[in-house]
Amino acid sequence: MRIVRYTYPAYRSPATLLGRLSQSPWSGLESEIDRLFENALSSFADPATASNFPVDLYEDKDNTYVRAELPGVTRDDINVEMVEDYLTITASRKTTEAEGEQSFSLSRSVNIPEEVQADKVSAAYENGVLTVTLPKREETKPKKITVAVK
C-alpha cells in the first residue's frame, strides 16, 4: 500500500503562537518516534474494534443526557436499557467486506447519578451519535417554595 503514509494535521499548541521559530528541532524525530509507538501500540487501542466507545454525561434542569459516539451502527441494533441506576447501551457494528460480513459488539454501562423516571427515557441517533434523554424524578428536581412572610 502506497497511500498509507500519514502526514500529521495541524495542532494548536502554545508553541504555535511563536510561529515556526519555536518549532522544536526535534519535532521531526519526535514524530518518527510517535509513529513507531503508534504502530506498536495500535493493536491495544484500536477504537474501530474496541468494544468500548466514548460516552458523555450532561444535565440540565429537567433531564440528564447521555451522549455516546457510535459511528456506523444501524438503529435497529442499538439497545438501551435502564436497570436501577445503570444505563446500558449495547450496539453492534456490521461491516461488509469482500471476505464476508464482520460484526463487532459494543457495550457500555453508565452509572446515572440522579434518580430518573425509567419509563420516560428516550433516545435519538443522529450522525453516529446516540443521545439518551433521561427525565429526572420530580422529587429530585430543585423546588422553589415561596413562603409568605407576615
Binding site: 500500500m1 502506497r2 497511500i3 498509507v4 503514509r5 500519514y6 502526514t7 500529521y8 494535521p9 495541524a10 495542532y11 494548536r12 499548541s13 502554545p14 508553541a15 504555535t16 518549532q23 522544536s24 526535534w26 519535532s27 521531526g28 519526535e30 514524530s31 518516534i33 510517535d34 509507538f37 501500540l41 484500536d46 477504537p47 474501530a48 466514548p54 460516552v55 458523555d56 454525561l57 450532561y58 444535565e59 440540565d60 434542569k61 440528564t64 443526557y65 451522549r67 459516539e69 457510535l70 459511528p71 456506523g72 451502527v73 444501524t74 461491516t95 467486506e97 469482500a98 447519578p113 441517533y125 450522525n127 453516529g128 451519535v129
Partner: protein
C-alpha cells in the same frame, strides 16, 4: 501512569507543531479513526466521524494529497452542564498523501451515520493489467 509517561513521552506531552499544515484556523484537531483497504481498482478509505453532518464535511483532493476536515454539527446547548466527558469537541482532520496514482475526478464519498466511505479510484495507468504472451 507516570511510569508509562516516562517510558513513552509522546503520551504525556502536547504534540509539537507538525510541518505541512496549510490551514491554521481550524483550532485543535484530532485524527479520526480510519482504515484503508486496497482492491485492484481503487483504494477504499473508511473514516469514523461521529457527530459530523454532511454540511460540516470538507474533502479536498490536491496533488498528491487527500485532505479531510470534519466539523462537529452538535454544540452543547445552553443550560446543559457537562458532568463527565470522554469525547472531545475538536475538529477532525485527516491528511493522507499518495503518489498521484489516483483518478481525482472520480473520487466518490458517502457519509452515513457518522461513517465516511471514500473510494479513490486508481488511475488507469496504475491498474494491473494482463499482458498476453505471444
Amino acid at each position: 501512569m507516570s511510569l508509562i509517561n516516562a517510558l513513552i513521552p509522546s503520551l504525556g506531552r502536547l504534540p509539537a507543531r507538525r510541518q505541512g499544515s496549510a490551514q491554521a484556523d481550524l483550532g485543535p484537531t484530532v485524527k479520526p479513526v480510519y482504515e484503508i483497504k486496497e482492491t485492484d481498482d481503487a483504494y477504499g478509505v473508511t473514516v469514523h466521524l461521529p457527530g459530523v453532518s454532511k454540511d460540516g464535511l470538507e474533502i479536498t483532493a490536491g496533488p498528491g494529497e487527500f485532505r479531510l476536515v470534519g466539523r462537529r454539527a452538535w454544540k452543547q446547548p445552553e443550560g446543559w452542564t457537562s458532568l463527565y466527558r470522554e469525547s472531545n469537541d475538536a475538529t477532525y482532520e485527516l491528511v493522507l498523501t499518495h503518489d498521484n496514482a489516483i483518478n481525482a475526478d472520480q473520487i466518490a464519498a458517502e457519509l452515513r451515520d457518522g461513517v465516511l466511505r471514500v473510494s479513490l479510484p486508481k488511475a488507469e495507468a496504475f491498474k494491473p493489467r494482463k499482458i498476453a504472451v505471444s
